[in-house]
C-alpha cells in the first residue's frame, strides 16, 4: 500500500484553477485531429500542449454484448491551467489546423481578472478597452436627409471634396490681404505670421511607433500612405508614434506624408534632429504627445522583449531594456509657458513651416487645454484621444477604466470654440474607438458633424489591413509581449515574417478608398459635398434623450 504523503493529503486540487476561470476554453475534437502538432507549435502563449493520456476503452463485438475493457495510450491536445499561459482566444490554432479540429471558445463566466496578477504583477496587455457594448459613435444616426425640398447629391457623379485642414487658421479679420484694383493681394508689408496649413484627408493613421509595430507593419502602412497620396490623390497622413522614423524616410520626399511625434521619452529624436539639415521635404506636422486615450496619464511603454537591434538603433537606446516614457514631458511646468515653448521650439526647428499641435487623452479638462491653445497663435490643432483608443502596452486597469469618451469631449470642445468664434481656427482631431465595430466612415462623419476636423485611427487599421485578431473580448491583445501571432506588433523575425508589407499596403489603400466612397455616400444624401460638414450637428440624431441633450443634437427614435 502506498504510504500517505503530504502531497496525497493535499490532492483535493485547491489553489488550482479550473478551465472555467479562463477567458477562452479550447474546444478540441479528438475525432478530427490528426495530431500534426501545428496548433501547439503556433500558440503564442503555449496555452495548449500535446499530451499523452491513458484512457479506458470499452468495446463489444459479435451479436451478443460482450463488453471488454482495454486501456489505451493516446495523444491529445490539452489546455493548460496556468494563468500565465492562459488562452487568449487569438485563434491561431484554428487558423493552422487542417481539419477544423480546434478552436477557442469565449467563456463569459471567466474570472480571469481575479487571478491575472501573479507575483503582484498587475495585468498588462495591448489592444484597447474591452468594451463590446455599442459606443456612442455607433448610436449616432444621420437623420437630415435631403428629400423633395432639396435634392440629394449624387455620390457617384457629383464632385466631392472630402478634405480637411490641419494647421492654425487665421481669423478672417486678421488675414494680411489688401485690395488693389478690385483684386486681392497678400499684404507684403504686413508682419502677420501666416501659419502653415496642410490639406489632408480627414482620416489619418494615428501614432503607432516603429517599435510597437513590426518592420513590415510600419513599412506597409507607410507604403500604403505614400501610394494613396502619389497615385490615388488622397492626401492621407500618418503619424509616426514615439520612437522616431526610419533614417532613410526622414531624408526622403515622402516625409511630407508623415506627422512626426515627439513624446515624453524623446525616443528617436536624436536621429531626427541630426537628419534635419538633410531633409528634402518638411513633415506634414509635428505632434507633441501629452497623453493617450488608452492609458491616460501614463507614458509610452515598449517592453524589453521588443527592443531589438533595429529598434534600439532608431531610438538610440541599448537593446533589451524596458522603454517606459514618463507620464509627461520633463520640461512641462505650465501650459502657458512650457507647452507654448515646446510648440515654439518645434515650430522653430522647421522654420515655422510645419504645423505643431499637442495630443492629449480625452479628459474633463480638455476644455482648459483647448482654451490655452486657442490663445496661443502657434498651436496648430488639438488632438484628443478618447478612452477607446488603443496601445501597444498598458496596464489593463488604465485601458479599461481610465479616460473619457471621445464624442462628448469633442463636442464640448467644439462648442466652446464656437462660443469664442474660433471654431475654424483651431482644428480638433478626434481619436479613440473610430471604427470600433467596423463603421469607419460613419464614425468619422459623426465626429466631423460633432465638430472634429479630422479623425485618427489605429486599431482599426491594424485589424483591417493586417488582420489583427484583437477585439473587445480581450481576444489576443498580446501586443505588449512581442509575441503577436500576426506579426504586427513584434520585433521577432520568426513572427513578423508572417506579415507581408505589400499586402498591408494594398489593404491600406483599399480601406481608404472605400472610406472615401462611404463618406460620399453619407454626405451626398445630406446635401453636402464642397466642404467637410464640420459641426453640422443638425444632421445628427441619437436614440437617447440624455445623450442628445449632452451632445446638443436631436433625439430620434
Amino acid at each position: 500500500m502506498e504510504p500517505a504523503s503530504r502531497s496525497n493529503i493535499m490532492s483535493d486540487h485547491n489553489h488550482q484553477l479550473s478551465l472555467r476561470e479562463f477567458p477562452y476554453i479550447i474546444r478540441w475534437r479528438d475525432d478530427r485531429c490528426k495530431r500534426c502538432g501545428r496548433c501547439t507549435a503556433v500558440c503564442p502563449v503555449k496555452a495548449i500542449v500535446p499530451s499523452v493520456k491513458v484512457r479506458r476503452f470499452v468495446s463489444s463485438e459479435g451479436p451478443v454484448p460482450t463488453p471488454t475493457t482495454v486501456r489505451i495510450t493516446t495523444q491529445i491536445v490539452e489546455q493548460v491551467t496556468d494563468i500565465e499561459r492562459y488562452c487568449t482566444g487569438c485563434g491561431s490554432c484554428t487558423l493552422v489546423c487542417p481539419n477544423e479540429a480546434i478552436e477557442p471558445e469565449l467563456n463569459p463566466q471567466n474570472k480571469f481578472l481575479h487571478y491575472k496578477n501573479k507575483g503582484g504583477d498587475a495585468y498588462k496587455r495591448g489592444g484597447r478597452r474591452n468594451d463590446p457594448s455599442m459606443s456612442t459613435l455607433d448610436r449616432l444616426k444621420f437623420t437630415r436627409i435631403s428629400m423633395l425640398t432639396d435634392p440629394a447629391l449624387d455620390a457617384g457623379r457629383h464632385e466631392f471634396r472630402i478634405r480637411s485642414l490641419l494647421g492654425r487658421i487665421l481669423p478672417p479679420e486678421e488675414m494680411p490681404i489688401i485690395v488693389r484694383n478690385g483684386t486681392l493681394e497678400l499684404d507684403k508689408k504686413s508682419s502677420r505670421f501666416i501659419p502653415p496649413v496642410r490639406e489632408i484627408f480627414p482620416i489619418m493613421i494615428g501614432s503607432m511607433s516603429i517599435g510597437a509595430l513590426s518592420p513590415p507593419m510600419w513599412e506597409g502602412l507607410a507604403m500604403g500612405v505614400a501610394y494613396l497620396n502619389e497615385v490615388e490623390g488622397l492626401p492621407v497622413v500618418m503619424a509616426s508614434g514615439e520612437g522616431g522614423m526610419p533614417p532613410r524616410l526622414l531624408r526622403s520626399k515622402y516625409l511630407k506624408y508623415f506627422i512626426i511625434q515627439i513624446a515624453s521619452g524623446y525616443f528617436g529624436w536624436d536621429e531626427i534632429i541630426h537628419a534635419l539639415p538633410e531633409m528634402v521635404e518638411d513633415p506634414a506636422a509635428i505632434e507633441i504627445k501629452y497623453g493617450q486615450g488608452a492609458k491616460p496619464g501614463d507614458g509610452g511603454l515598449l517592453m524589453a522583449q521588443k527592443v531589438l537591434k533595429l529598434i534600439a538603433k532608431i531610438r538610440g537606446v541599448p537593446q533589451f531594456i524596458d522603454l517606459a516614457s514618463p507620464p509627461t514631458h520633463q520640461t512641462k511646468y505650465s501650459i502657458e509657458e512650457a507647452v507654448a515653448k515646446m510648440i515654439q521650439s518645434m515650430s522653430m526647428a522647421w522654420g515655422f513651416r510645419v504645423p505643431v499641435y499637442p495630443k492629449i487623452s480625452g479628459t474633463k479638462t480638455a476644455k482648459a487645454v483647448l482654451n490655452n491653445l486657442a490663445r496661443n497663435p502657434y498651436a496648430a490643432a488639438l488632438s484628443i484621444d478618447g478612452e477607446d483608443g488603443g496601445t501597444g502596452a498598458a496596464y489593463n486597469v488604465s485601458m479599461d477604466k481610465m479616460g473619457h469618451p471621445i464624442a462628448s469631449n469633442i463636442r464640448e470642445c467644439y462648442l466652446d470654440l464656437v462660443k469664442q468664434g474660433k471654431q475654424n481656427e483651431l482644428p480638433l482631431i478626434a481619436a479613440g474607438g473610430i471604427g470600433k465595430k467596423g463603421n469607419l466612415a460613419a464614425n468619422t462623419a459623426a465626429l466631423i458633424m460633432l465638430g472634429a476636423s479630422a479623425v485618427a485611427i489605429g486599431k482599426y487599421i491594424m485589424q483591417a489591413a493586417a488582420d489583427c485578431f484583437g477585439d473587445e473580448y480581450n481576444r489576443c491583445n498580446l501586443c505588449n509581449t512581442g509575441k503577436c501571432p500576426r506579426g504586427i506588433t513584434t520585433q521577432d523575425p520568426k513572427l513578423y515574417r508572417r506579415l507581408d508589407a505589400d499586402k498591408v499596403a494594398e489593404r491600406v489603400v483599399e480601406v481608404f478608398r472605400s472610406a472615401d466612397v462611404e463618406l460620399r455616400k453619407i454626405f451626398a444624401p445630406m446635401g453636402r459635398s464642397t466642404e467637410l460638414p464640420i459641426g453640422m450637428s443638425d444632421g445628427l440624431s441619437i436614440d437617447d434623450k440624455a445623450m442628445a441633450e449632452r451632445l446638443g443634437i436631436s433625439y430620434a427614435c
Binding site: 437630415r144 435631403s146 425640398t149 432639396d150 435634392p151 447629391l153 457629383h158 464632385e159 471634396r161 485642414l165 487658421i169 487665421l170 481669423p171 478672417p172 479679420e173 488675414m175 494680411p176 490681404i177 485690395v179 478690385g182 483684386t183 486681392l184 493681394e185 497678400l186 501666416i194 496649413v197 490639406e199 464656437v418 462660443k419 469664442q420 468664434g421 474660433k422 471654431q423 475654424n424 445630406m526 446635401g527 453636402r528 459635398s529 464642397t530 466642404e531 460638414p533 464640420i534 459641426g535 453640422m536 450637428s537 443638425d538
Partner: protein, 371 residues
C-alpha cells in the same frame, strides 16, 4: 420652388412688375407669401432719401410701444406711409402695416454713415426684442431709401390687398420673393428678402450648411448676425460680412460661398490671397441648391449660384432695365421686348452683376477671376 423676381431700372417702376413676373412663374401651391424690398425709392419717398425708413408690421399695442421707444431714442417722424388695405378673401389683415421715414437723433445727424448704420440696426434689433415675444412688432428694415413689405398669401392677391397698383409706391430696384415657406409654419421673420445695413438678398432652395454657417456668423460678435428663422438669412449676412466687415470686393462673395478647388485657385492671379481666404472662411461655404439674388448699398444687383448650379437663374433686359429672375417666363413678363439672344443663364462659376441704374451687365467668371 421659391420664385424670385428682381428688377433694376434707371426709371422708377411699380412693384406690380416683379409681382406679375412672380405670377407668371407660379406653379402649383407655391403662392404662400410675398416679400418685397424696394431700394432707391420714388413717389412720396423720393424727397426723403437721406432719412432712414423703418418698414414693418405692428399691432395697436405694438404701435404704442414703437412710438414710445422711437421717441425715447430721439428719432423724429418725418413721414409715414401706410398701404390702403383692401379686404381680400383668405388674407387676414393685421393692425398696422407701415413705412416711416425718421430723422436721426440730433447727436447722430452729423455722424459718419457707418455709425448711423449701426444705430439703425441696433434700433431695429431693440424693437425686434420688444415685439417678438407677443408678435406685436415686426421690423423688417430700417435704412435710408429702402422699404420692405411682407405678408402671407398669394402674391397677386397681396398686391390687391396692399393696393400696390395705384398707391404710388415706386422704386428703381425691387426684389420680390413669391413663396415664403411651404416647408414649415410661416413666420414673418423667416420671410425673404432679408436685409441688413444696405445689403439685401433672397434665395431659393435649402441651405444644407446652415448650422455651421449660423454658428460662425453668430460668433463674429456682430449684433446684427442673429435671427436665422430661415436658413437663407445667412446668405444676406455673408454678403454683409464679405463686403462691409471684411472690405472685400463683391465678386469675392462667390469665392467665399462656393470656393474653388486647390488646382483651380492656382490659375487665379490672386491665388495667394484666395488660398488664405478659403481657409479662413471655410465655415461660410454653402452646398446648395441655391440661386441668390441681391443688391448692395451702392445699388449693384447680382445673381449667383451654388457650386453645382442646382437651381435655374436668368438675367435679361435692355440697358436701363434688367430683370434677374429664377425663371425665364418671369423675365418675359417683365421685359417682353428685350433681345432674348442676349439673355444670360449664369453657370456655376459665374457671378452676374448689374450696375446701378441698370447701365451695365457683367459676367464675372470665378475660374479666371475676371469679367
Amino acid at each position: 420652388m421659391c420664385r424670385l423676381a428682381a428688377i433694376t431700372s434707371k426709371d422708377y417702376i411699380s412693384p406690380m412688375e416683379p409681382i406679375l413676373a412672380l405670377e407668371t412663374m407660379k406653379e402649383g401651391h407655391d403662392g404662400s407669401g410675398l416679400g418685397l424690398t424696394l431700394k432707391d425709392l420714388g413717389g412720396a419717398f423720393e424727397k426723403l432719401k437721406k432719412y432712414p425708413v423703418m418698414s414693418g408690421i405692428c399691432s395697436k399695442a405694438g404701435k404704442k410701444a414703437l412710438d414710445e421707444f422711437m421717441k425715447k431714442e430721439g428719432f423724429t417722424l418725418k413721414y409715414e406711409w401706410k398701404p390702403k388695405i383692401k379686404q381680400v378673401k383668405g388674407i387676414i389683415p393685421r393692425d398696422c402695416y407701415f413705412a416711416r421715414a425718421y430723422d436721426y437723433p440730433a447727436a447722430y445727424r452729423n455722424k459718419p454713415l457707418h455709425e448711423k448704420e449701426d444705430l439703425l440696426m441696433n434700433t431695429r434689433l431693440a424693437l425686434r426684442r420688444i415685439g417678438e415675444p407677443d408678435e406685436s412688432i415686426f421690423v423688417f428694415s430700417f435704412y435710408p431709401d429702402v422699404l420692405t413689405l411682407k405678408e402671407v398669401g398669394d402674391p397677386l392677391q397681396l398686391a390687391e390687398f396692399f393696393g400696390l397698383e395705384d398707391n404710388g409706391l415706386k422704386a428703381r430696384i425691387i426684389l420680390a420673393q413669391g413663396r415664403q415657406n411651404t416647408n414649415y409654419a410661416i413666420y414673418m421673420y423667416a420671410c425673404h428678402p432679408f436685409f441688413i445695413q444696405g445689403f439685401c438678398s433672397m434665395t431659393n432652395g435649402e441651405n444644407t450648411a446652415f448650422v455651421p454657417i449660423r454658428e460662425f456668423l453668430s460668433s463674429r460678435g456682430f449684433p446684427g448676425y442673429m435671427g436665422y428663422n430661415s436658413d437663407s438669412e445667412v446668405f444676406t449676412h455673408i454678403l454683409h460680412y464679405t463686403v462691409r466687415q471684411l472690405h472685400l470686393p463683391l465678386p469675392y462673395y462667390k469665392d467665399i460661398i462656393t470656393p474653388l478647388k486647390a488646382a483651380e485657385i492656382g490659375q487665379r492671379s490672386d491665388r495667394d490671397a484666395l488660398r488664405l481666404m478659403k481657409q479662413s472662411l471655410r465655415s461660410l461655404c454653402i452646398d446648395g441648391p441655391n440661386v441668390i439674388i441681391g443688391f448692395t448699398p451702392d445699388g449693384t444687383c447680382f445673381m449667383v449660384h451654388d457650386s453645382k448650379k442646382l437651381r435655374p437663374g436668368i438675367v435679361g433686359g435692355v440697358k436701363g432695365k434688367y430683370a434677374l429672375m429664377s425663371e425665364e417666363c418671369g423675365v418675359d413678363s417683365a421685359l417682353p421686348k428685350r433681345d432674348r439672344n442676349k439673355d444670360i443663364f449664369p453657370m456655376k462659376y459665374d457671378m452676374i452683376t448689374v450696375s446701378p441704374h441698370a447701365q451695365e451687365v457683367k459676367v464675372w467668371n470665378q475660374l479666371h477671376g475676371q469679367i
